[in-house]
């Protein structure tokens, strides 16, 4: 697709679930009828005012939307450049953007008569959100979580169990998000008839990338209106952290056709984006491949075997990225950069100290990039970053890195 032929960036995916060459439905035959059903149900729900009325009601009274758009005055002064706004999605019930999407999928599962919900989780935020909404609706909930993540995100594991979910530690592979997703897919092929797979990011087979994006787009819709109300114009730059890319897609999508707005996604650079591959920057350090139902950029070796990657942040520790990001990257509508573990930790501390906000380690990656670019930008440049999660779950990891002994 030649770029000059595009008059909107917001029409994808096509009927085959593709964004350019990315996306698609690369799943086993057992799952095909299920994802076709899901697509049909979602298409119906999408235009059903009753569906959105229920969502809005829950978003308002259960999640606490709209989330504020906050002017970070002290950070702006400290960095001495662009005016920094934060979209406060960490204030949502359960502490991250994940619940925006979970509510939509659970309402859909209810319409489809499914009573058993499965989910994969990395940082545990999607697992907690899913366990929460399942408790709210009396549904059975099973969460797959890499054994390594069970260990580094212990508070979230306990929260899920309190909420009545069964948490299954996954030991295959290196025990992180990718492996949790494999086992969730294996559960789904086994329990096709009564089970709904609630995917936590804009990845997986069509229609998940589009559906999750639509549910998360509430972030960008609100931010756009709030910025217009506050500043009388659109932001100049919007920034979000990327694991699979759902909070970023949610912020970006409503702005895609506002071509004056610069869009930046921040991937996890781990120990540095180089040939050691100890990072999770799929776009800056990977190449196109097929995994988990879609074609996208992946960390892989010369034989097409998937690499595990590394990030200090469990929620970004994923070797792929949503297919719409892969497309936006290739056509150049969005830029993608990476931030290392060390840079994220420094940003984490600065955010705590200057604004009294403890961000999630995932979110700290986005903030670290704001720290990099803000000082060189003029004072009237408006940045809007997505404060997609709070860092309560990360204090143990951060304490360890700062050499602080904490008794659990």
């Amino acid at each position: 697709m030649a770029e000059d032929l595009i008059n909107s960036y917001r029409t994808g995916p096509d009927e085959a679930g593709r964004f350019g060459i990315f996306g698609g439905r690369f799943v086993s035959e057992t799952l095909m009828p299920l994802i076709l059903d899901l697509e049909a149900e979602y298409e119906k729900a999408k235009t059903d005012p009753a569906f959105w009325a229920e969502m809005d009601d829950l978003w308002t009274h259960y999640v606490g939307r709209p989330s504020p758009l906050y002017f970070a005055e002290r950070l702006t002064a400290r960095l001495g450049g662009a005016k920094i706004y934060m979209k406060r999605d960490e204030l949502n019930h359960t502490g991250a953007h994940k619940i925006n999407n979970v509510l939509g999928q659970i309402l859909l599962a209810r319409r489809m008569g499914k009573e058993r919900i499965i989910a994969e989780t990395g940082a545990g935020q999607h697992g907690v959100a899913t366990a929460t909404v399942c408790a709210r609706f009396g549904l059975k909930c099973v969460v797959y979580m890499g054994a390594h993540d069970v260990e580094r995100q212990a508070p979230n594991v306990f929260r899920m169990r309190l909420l009545g979910a069964e948490v299954i530690p996954v030991t295959s592979g290196r025990g992180t998000l990718k492996d949790a997703m494999n086992d969730a897919l294996r559960d789904w092929v086994t329990n096709v008839r009564d089970t709904f797979y609630c995917i936590g990011t804009v990845a997986g087979p069509h229609p998940y990338p589009a559906m999750v994006r639509d549910f998360q787009s509430i972030i960008g819709k609100e931010a756009r209106a709030q910025m217009l109300a506050r500043e009388g114009r659109l932001p100049d730059t919007i920034i979000a952290a990327i694991g699979g890319g759902s909070n970023a897609m949610g912020l970006f999508h409503p702005f895609l056709d506002d071509t004056s707005v610069r869009i930046i996604g921040v991937e996890a650079g781990g120990k540095g984006v180089d040939e050691r591959m100890e990072h999770c920057a799929s776009l800056t350090g990977g190449r196109p491949g097929v995994l988990h139902g879609n074609r996208t950029y992946l960390l892989q070796d010369a034989d097409g075997q998937i690499l595990e990657g590394h990030s200090i942040s469990a929620g970004l520790d994923y070797p792929g990225i949503g297919p719409e990001h892969a497309w936006l990257h290739d056509i150049g509508r969005a830029e993608y950069v990476s931030i290392t573990d060390t840079e994220a930790l420094a940003a984490f501390r600065l955010c705590c100290e200057e604004e009294g906000i403890i961000p999630a380690l995932e979110t700290a990656h986005a903030f670290a990039h704001v720290m990099k670019i803000a000082p060189a930008l003029p004072a009237d440049h408006l940045i809007c970053m997505n404060m997609c999660g709070r860092g309560d779950k990360d204090i143990f990891t951060v304490a360890r890195h700062l050499g602080f002994e904490m008794k659990v």
Binding site: A16, M32, V189, T190, N191, P288, L291, R295, D303, Q305
Partner: protein, 263 residues
């Protein structure tokens, strides 16, 4: 006609059921895997399914997951698996070989190059788990154009509405998956499988072979008796994984084959 078509025509003429054996290419290591493969025809195997190891085998249970890991740790690659096929073909030009695996290693090699190398190595068919009919343009159509069979899985969720889509570009045989689930889990129930096979056979002239959940000669016989043949994978792979020498694995395969052939 591929070697698969020829083999099934011969089996049909003899009134015999097909026994299909799955092993993972490169498991437990490259040399023993090749030796095993070379021994399969004499053990009674009619069609060889050679697994392509992949880091993320979404449709496989722990047994085949571990086999893939062993193969990858031993340095197996797609190119080496194709070299195994070449080496096998030097001594056997009749036994059909089907490669079974996931799409990414093939996509990574490049579809055009893969199709050319696989056909010249002597591969007859492909089963690529994560390529449903909706993605036929990726590999199914190029592979068919080059003269390979593309074998599709039909499953208990493939209802009558969907069956024609699944059969449309399928050739060689239809692989009916006896359970909803992953490899190595559950046990195929011949009683439940029989009507499903009949349903598929009413819609196609292709042979219907049943796999997943078959682990013993008795089960092989029971399932083969209600279909055109059966596939055993995890049970053989588990034997290999237990450290059994090649001859012992082949003995086990011969028992399974005898079970299927007695149907």
């Amino acid at each position: 006609m591929t070697r698969i078509d020829v083999r099934f025509a011969a089996l049909k003429a003899e009134g015999r059921k097909a026994f299909v054996a799955y092993i993972m290419g490169g498991d437990p290591d490259h040399d023993r895997s090749l030796a095993l493969m070379q021994g399969l025809p004499a053990a009674g195997v009619d069609v060889i399914e050679l697994g392509l190891p992949f880091t993320d085998p979404m449709a496989d249970g722990p047994t085949i997951q571990r086999a893939g890991q062993r193969a990858l740790e031993g340095g197996q690659t797609l190119a080496l698996t194709l070299a195994m096929v070449r080496a096998f073909r030097a001594g056997d030009d009749a036994t059909p070989i089907v490669l079974m695996g996931y799409y990414n290693p093939i996509y990574s090699m490049g579809v055009e190059r893969f199709v050319a190398e696989a056909t010249s190595a002597g591969v007859d068919g492909l089963i690529i788990v994560d390529l449903p009919p909706e993605e036929d343009a990726e590999l199914c159509l190029p592979a068919r154009a080059a003269g390979m069979n593309f074998i599709r899985l039909a499953t208990p969720t493939t209802d009558d509405r969907r069956l024609p889509t699944v059969l449309r570009n399928t050739s060689g045989f239809v692989y009916y998956v006896s359970i909803t689930g992953i490899t190595g889990a559950g046990a195929a129930d011949a009683g439940a499988v029989a009507p499903e096979v009949a349903r598929i056979k009413a819609a196609t002239d292709l042979p219907v072979i049943v796999g997943f959940g078959i682990a013993t000669p008795e089960a092989a016989r029971a399932v083969a008796s209600v279909a055109d043949g059966c596939v055993v994978g995890s049970a053989i792979v588990a034997k290999i994984g237990s450290g059994a020498p090649v001859a012992e694995v082949l003995g086990f395969v011969a028992d399974l084959a005898a079970g299927a052939h007695s149907a």
